[in-house]
């Protein structure tokens, strides 16, 4: 799925990375627990988070995720925006809650980062 499709599905606003909407996203992760992101599979992953701190961007860079979406209209502060821009990390915001945002993406075919699917 393209990041541009994720933007549409989540009715999201692009804060950083308008030029990167063409990148491909293979899976999604929804977490406020940064430790969890540092453990799992994160390549070509979009991270949905309700946490709007600098640590989210730093964790995303280190974990190697491809884009960050803040849920429930959380507003990133300037430091967070600067950090995202510096590292070329697309940063979007969506009005949906974490549950709804994940559900909308899942319904459109995006899956989680589990290694073994439990269908």
């Amino acid at each position: 799925m393209k990041l541009s499709e994720i933007k549409e599905i989540l009715k999201a606003t692009v804060v950083v990375g308008e030029e990167k909407l063409d990148i491909s996203i293979k899976a999604g992760a929804g977490s406020d627990l940064m430790s969890d992101l540092l453990r799992g599979q994160t390549e070509e992953v979009v991270l949905l988070s309700g946490l709007n701190t600098l640590q989210v961007i730093r964790t995303a860079v280190i974990a190697g995720v491809s884009a960050v979406v803040l849920v429930r209209d959380k507003t990133p502060d300037q430091a967070m925006i600067d950090q995202a821009r510096e590292h070329g990390m697309p940063l979007l915001t969506t009005p949906f809650t974490m549950f709804t945002a994940c559900g909308r993406l899942f319904r459109q075919g995006l899956r989680g980062v589990e290694r073994k699917a439990r269908q």
Binding site: S31, M34, S35, L38, R39, Q55, V61, I62, A63, A79
Partner: protein, 144 residues
């Protein structure tokens, strides 16, 4: 002979700066041109250990040394030390404060995750005397 050696000072309890050093380590390894999976493993270990020092207090240092065979990270701090290392290495065991948890850390996954990502891992700690972590990564043979 290391072809890169760099030392960084970690400021305890500075949650705004927390993670900056690991971001620099990530950037340096990327510039050298290591493969993405190796960079991720080293950076995750740097980040987890940097956060540990920031969270638990006490001045600390992180040193990165790179040679043709290995990447070595050493993190030392003058923090409170770890009373029971076996317990600290268990997933889910944490002594973190509420403030740390609000930032998405302190779930008791740090040290276990370091152990998982490093090819070799040593920890020395004594209550009241700080902690010393040494993490090594093989450059040539991939573990996974």
């Amino acid at each position: 002979m290391p072809y890169l050696k760099k030392n960084f000072g970690i400021v305890p309890l500075d949650f705004v700066k927390a993670g900056e050093i690991s971001i620099q380590v990530h950037g340096l390894l990327k510039t050298i041109g290591f493969e993405a999976a190796l960079i991720r493993r080293v950076s995750v270990c740097a980040y987890e250990s940097e956060m540990n020092v920031v969270m638990h207090g006490g001045d600390g240092t992180l040193s990165l040394s790179v040679d043709s065979d290995s990447i070595v990270l050493e993190v030392r701090d003058e923090g409170p030390g770890i009373e029971n290392i076996d317990l600290a290495l268990k997933e889910g065991y944490s002594t973190a404060t509420e403030e740390i948890r609000e930032m998405g850390f302190g779930a008791g996954m740090g040290l276990p995750n370091i152990q998982k990502n490093a090819d070799a891992f040593e920890i020395h700690s004594e209550k009241g005397r700080g902690t010393h972590l040494k993490m090594s990564f093989n450059v040539k043979s991939r573990r996974e």
